[in-house]
Symmetry: C2
Subunit: 320 residues, 2 copies
């Protein structure tokens, strides 16, 4: 059996589009964006990626070429008459919060996922942030995957809560940011919010906290806290969450292992990959990251949280 035969592939269904961004560090116009771009370029560091998404006729061939690098399979990419999904946003002083300036759904408004036959047996599935009804359509098309991970956003919590709840119920791992967990669970407390989501059925909730790292709340494994990589210069936080998801699920699929220990490691992989993404605009940095660079950064995460216990011999000094 060859190396490639032993790893599982990842399926991602989500948005693909063109972003126009402004941060305190600069601007970029009509660059490659959407959840599947960041996810795919992160996950391909670990394993084969199968994409289901939609673009218009105006989607640049260069971007398609960039995505198809390595092990990203675009046979599930629909090309429709019309314009590609566009998002425009800006980050002010607090780089943790994106302010949406404009959203043009374009061909994405009529999108329905349609999985190529061989995609349907993919064992690791990422339901990126799209309308929960479309996420359910994906679940109808896959055969007993080993792991389903679902993301979402504030819009669907507001407008489509019951369908979203059905998605969360049917997922193994829920991936949300801190604001979304607070909003969905109606509590300011992330631990309580995470546990409320666990009560719906998932094995685990992974809460993305931007510069504060990530938090795992797991049915089998309690709480795990991963720091963010300490970076002095974050130029563009767009796609950090989807890059995290790509590193996270890509790693699990590459090992075909979703055990508690593997999930903790996968979170560190997700943080490591995302830390490259934010170093430059769009996918510019992410697209060039190597497995070796990610592993080097992964290994620095351990030192960030290590503290050594006192020598037992010191204990005689202690008063009570």
């Amino acid at each position: 059996m060859t190396v490639a035969d032993q790893r599982s592939a990842v399926l991602v269904v989500g948005s693909l589009g063109l972003d126009t961004l402004k941060t305190p560090f600069g601007e970029a116009r009509d660059i490659l964006g959407g959840t599947t771009s960041y996810f795919s370029l992160a996950a391909r560091i670990y394993t084969d990626v199968r994409v289901v998404a939609v673009v218009g006729r105006d989607f640049p061939q260069d971007y398609r070429d960039l995505l198809q690098r390595g092990t990203v399979d675009l046979r599930g990419l629909q090309v429709m008459e019309g314009k590609t999904f566009r998002w425009s946003g800006q980050y002010r002083f607090d780089m943790n919060v994106a302010e949406t300036l404009d959203t043009q759904l374009n061909v994405f408004a009529d999108f329905h996922p349609d999985l190529p036959e061989d995609y349907r047996r993919t064992q690791y599935v990422f339901l990126a942030n799209i309308h929960p009804a479309l996420q359910l359509e994906v679940l109808e098309q896959v055969d007993t995957p080993k792991l389903v991970v679902a993301d979402s956003m504030n819009l669907w919590i507001d407008t489509t809560r019951s369908t979203l709840t059905e998605v969360l119920r049917r997922s193994d791992i829920v991936l949300l940011n801190d604001g979304e967990v607070r909003q969905y669970a109606g509590t300011p407390n992330l631990i309580a919010g995470g546990r409320a989501i666990l009560d719906l059925g998932p094995r685990a909730v992974v809460i993305k906290k931007g510069e504060h790292g990530a938090l795992l709340i797991s049915r089998d494994d309690g709480v795990f806290v991963a720091p963010a990589y300490p970076q002095e210069e974050v130029r563009d936080p767009t796609g950090a969450g989807d890059s995290f998801a790509g590193g996270f699920i890509g790693y699990l699929a590459s090992r075909d292992d979703a055990s508690p220990d593997a999930i903790r490691r996968a979170i560190i992989h997700g943080c490591a990959v995302a830390s490259f993404t934010v170093e430059d605009f769009g996918v510019r940095r992410l697209a060039d990251v190597t497995r070796e660079q990610v592993m080097e950064r992964y290994s620095t995460f351990r030192s960030l949280t290590t503290f050594v216990d006192e020598q037992v011999t010191e204990d005689v000094k202690v008063g009570g």
Copy 2:
């Protein structure tokens, strides 16, 4: 030499007052508050505490008795004609941010620290959040302490920046919350902000991040990230930062050790102690915490951030 002879004491100079608080979990009126209360009750778990502060004639004897428990020395407490400092605040949905409703300085307006003779040789000094000019007055009165830790707040960054800068320059460790670091350093990035403060002279900056734990940025020891204890119910976050400071400096003094390894452990002690404080209003929970309870919580922190490396034999499975 007895156990008590081997540990160092801690000196704290700061506010002492009466708080009126409102959180989503309830209200409390004229309860024991101020930075020195929380600091002292936290640090006394570890070592002897010497307090310098001021109260008015109306300061209840019960509160004085509560503070004097164990190893807290109140000989430096000034009692002046007039009313005790009062602060009133509330926490809304986001329990991380206190909204000040009212501040009455009262006798605190005319406070000048005056250290009893034997306080002046204290080796571990905490300059709690008071006017930077008063913090400098304390530094004039102490003999070559081994470790000076300074706190501050947004008000002094706005109004007394140059004096505050002098305090930071003369401190070994600067303790600020995330918002204060961003404000002082003029950058949204905490790592960059922390390093800017290191450039002034301190050995280390410890950034308190509330529910996101604490971040150490150290000249000798790089970056260390401590999680917050995962709590489902935070009833009142008041005093968490000062309890952290008490656990942090109290631990270092109890070991008479400010090495990088001790500082990492001390941060975990600070997080552990603070996690009790927020479980109930004011000092209610903190006042009863035992050393054993803190140690039990301390030991759970390790599991929060531990991830085990893959077996080397697994590596053959990996594609790149």
